[in-house]
């Protein structure tokens, strides 16, 4: 395992890798460094927060801690998804500034170990909303993976459209 070797650097000359939890919104693959992910939640019970920025979907109780839920689709300017009854609303919990946030996405995939050499900066033509939250791109064989910059994404929530309910 690459991750193992990374931690124990003496073993072999393997390229440095980072582990990512993969997420999917629409058809796009996203990744969040696995060390930043605290939890993956299935169906969650949200409390609406009036007057909150529009990407704030609500708050939820995660083992006694209050977690603010962010709808990543809204953050990316995508339309809301029609949820089928059988489909649970998936989210990953990340910590930012000692606060917990749950990022609501369409689905959660496997954990990938990606070589750092495959990482590239954002293409300049990327949509502005996406540029804000994307740290860069990994080229996978079949598709591209957008690395979510958690700090950027959460740090910029309150700066725009403050009072939109």
């Amino acid at each position: 395992m690459n991750g193992y070797m990374e931690k124990h650097g003496e073993i072999g000359k393997v390229a440095k890798t980072t582990d990512f939890v993969t997420l999917r919104i629409e058809d796009q693959l996203f990744g969040i460094p696995v060390l930043q992910v605290q939890d993956v939640l299935g169906d969650i019970k949200l409390t609406r927060i009036p007057l909150a920025p529009k990407e704030v979907a609500g708050s939820l109780n995660l083992r006694g801690r209050i977690v603010t839920a962010i709808d990543v689709r809204t953050r990316l300017g995508l339309p809301a998804r029609e949820l089928k009854a059988s489909e649970p609303r998936m989210s990953v919990v990340v910590e930012y500034g000692s606060q917990l946030y749950s990022l609501i996405i369409d689905s959660v995939g496997e954990v990938l170990s990606l070589e750092d050499s495959k990482f590239e900066r954002n293409p300049a033509t990327l949509d502005k909303l996406w540029l804000e939250i994307s740290k860069g791109i990994y080229q996978l064989e079949e598709e591209l993976l957008v690395v979510i910059d958690v700090a950027q994404m959460l740090g910029s929530v309150h700066t725009d459209d403050k009072m939109s309910a």
């Binding site: 019970k45 409390t47 609406r48 927060i49 009036p50 007057l51 909150a52 920025p53 704030v56 609500g58 708050s59 939820l60 109780n61 006694g64 209050i66 603010t68 500034g97 606060q99 946030y101 959460l154 929530v157 309150h158 403050k162 309910a165």
Partner: protein, 993 residues
Amino acid sequence: MDELLGEFLTETNESLSQLDQDIVKLEKNPEDPELLGVIFRVMHTIKGTCGFLGLPRLEKVAHHGENILGKFRDGEMAVDEEAVSIVLESLDRIKDIVDALGQTGEEPVGEDSDIINKIEAFIDVRLHGGAPTVAAAEPEEEIVMVEEGETIPAAPLDSIEEEIDFTPIPADQTRAAVEALESEEAEKADTPVEETVEEAEEDEPAPVETKAQGKKTEDSDVKKEAPVVAQSIRVNVDLLENLMTVASELVLTRNQLIQLLRQQTDSDFAAPLQRLNHNVTELQEHVMKTRMQPIGNAWAKLPRIIRDLANELKKDIELVMEGEDTELDRQVLELIKDPLTHMVRNSADHGLEIPADRKKAGKVETGTIHLSAYHEGGHIIIEIADDGRGLAVDKIKKKAIENGVATAEELGNYSTQQINNLIFHPGLSTAEKVTSVSGRGVGMDVVKSNIEKIGGTIELFSQTGKGTKVQVKIPLTLAIVSALIVEASGERFAIPQISVLELVRSSQEGENRIEEIQGSPVLRLRNKLLPLVSLSKLLHLEGGKELYSSKKKNKRKENDLRSGIASLQKEEKRLMEAIEKEDNPKLKESNIKKLEEIALALSDSQEVLARLTEENSAEKHTIKEEDPPYIIVTQVGNYTFGIIVDQVYDTEEIVVKPVSPILRHISMFSGNTILGDGTVIMILDPNGIAQQTGEITVGDDTSASMGTENGKRRTRDDSTSLLVFKAGSGAPKAVPLSLVGRLEDFKVEEIEVSEENRMVIQYRGGLMPLVPFAQNYSFPESGRQAVLVFADEKRSMGLMVDEIIDIVDEQMKVETSGVTPGILGSAIISGKATNVIDVGYYLSQANNDWFDTKSEQAYTDGQKRGKRLLLVDDSPFFRNMLKPLLEVGGFEVITQQDPHEALGFLEQDYDFDIIVSDIEMPGMSGFDFASSVRTKEELNHVPIIALSSHATTQDMDRGKESGFDNYVAKFDREALLSAIEEALSHTKAGEAA
């Protein structure tokens, strides 16, 4: 940093601040051996521990400080200011070193021979009158040398043994040793110290044993009255915080269990859960207590600060502290420490005058700063008062203009209180020169924002020449609060119980129905109008319950439709008749066509009506089943308002958790929490809601709040209900609601014009004159006319206005007298400049005989501002009319309707400058009232003016006999004002003579 060192630092810092206080105390009571002993021991502990930890520099300084203290204690030297200053200087050096130690973990490089030599020289001069003989020596030597023959009282052996673990485990052991050392010394150990120190240096755990042995051999001469060491241990704050969190979670879990139990009436869990409930509550209380600290901790530094300030500023300052034991949450305490220090400093620096000035002002030379703290309903109130010169209003004004905070014009309209409040404005410091004391870049604005950050409020009262008082109100704790759970539009919210005054369940009809004024809901609550806000609307939630009035609108639509149908039917009938009579076939045909159209419209309308009626009645039906909304009567500051919610659940103890930073900008919420059932819920912030929805009236009548200091009890008059309306051009107008007899809405057609071109209307079996608000007022040709009806027993008149806006409850402070006839002056009402109308003016317009006087520019005289006037009159009409008039004249007017009651009132509150009384009153005549007043010693000098509708010479003579100073006809406003002025100038002259 070394754990041991860390603990030493915390302790030393604590002891140092204690020492500061004690040494200042010692200066005042130099003979107090117990105090001396305490001080000596603290210094000694510091020295001893330094040697132990290998901090030679600190040790040396402490040692010399101790040296002087030893001389005090042994009576070799007298305690005086010079000596105390030297000790304080050495303490300061110790503090410096300790601070550096705290930052770097190492003793800073430096030389202390200056201070040491100073001490040595001082001792030498005092003892032998010679030059210093001994320069700074090696610490070890000194210890031996100086400690010889010195003893430290010891604690009983057994108590020490209890505390000490003899097993030598290095790290813990060392700590135990240090603790033991302190506790022992604190308990007056009678151990030679050089032994301890020497041993300590050889072997860390050893001193414990040594000391124990030492004590066995030497019996203690413990004083019986020795202060018992507090039964306390040092606990890491993080640990306490964790404990708090766990306890909070436990509370939540308990809430959850109780919720579950409620659904099962008969459960075996009921009894144990009851016990659990009880225990958790207790646990929570205790854990909360661990966070509580006496406010005295935040004050500990103040005596020293004041002492130094007094020396520096050459002032005599006495600091009186009261309620040091008042406890509050540690977190809160930390946050208010600096603001408090700042304010006390302000008082000493800017507030208090130098002794010479004080003497000139006829005050005692020593200025007093009074610091007090007490609990009041879940809040802690801290007051900082000084008897200094008060705020310099002129300087504030000047500064405000300079800094562009306000223009001179604006300031002219400000009340003194408003001007005083300007010091909370950023960048406004009135200190002209920046002393080392003030001008540190922290202004009152920072103080204010810091206090508001923790949900507190700050109010300032100042009286020129008498002093300044700052009152800070802060919540006891930020952690657990009792909250009411409410629901609006299907979402639940928590509202802190502390701001909830009462709950009202509204009803569709009758007493508690919600009414609307121009779309703003209000509730009549015990004859007062309560402004309401709908939580659903406030939070932009949809689907809140509809208010009563919107249903009314439907009803109105239905009625309109009905009358429309009726007129259509009439038209139909008319046409039918016309058709029958009509001979012209062409016209007949067109009429028939019209008739057909009407018939069609009629059937359409009827259909709509049928549907609407059905809907309306159906709605009525469903609404009856549904609960009408609830109103949460909430108080923020002195602003009371109601929040409309759909549903009210029970109260729950909630743990306030801060909201995520991305939600902090929403001022409606103060936090969030997890309820018993596990759902997250937002906590409403009544402060935020009040700010969003209306005004908060902060600030107060200064004289009333400073009243206690005048030694006389004063009672406060309540706010006045004002009717706000639109008439003429410009600002909204207002009139005291109590003056208004009725609000009418006449049809314009009903208004008649009499021969003298006066407008009248038939009203209640008589003719009522109507007066337009402005001369050039043109009333509409048709439609309706809003009229304010003023009436007393015999007469009535109507004032025609454009629109009635609102009824508000406010403390009416009429600011300036207008030159416009009919306007008394302007006042800030609901945050808007509003003209208060002079009812008298309009009354005289309507009935020439109502008053004889024309409207004159109202009386103003700066000198009269703040004079208190008691008005006794049984007629509410005149009371209400005279009150604003006299207030414009600069009086604080208290009204009484019954002379008996007035006499009773005067028993408690006799601080009046003048009394104005009616003559004909039921129960007791004005003459008798005046004679009774005259029998009271306190009121002997107060002028009394009689008001009467018939003023014959006979009456006047009788009035003078009874004790009236003057006799004025009731409707002569001008005469009344000049009589008051005259009477007041008499008393002034009398006093001067």
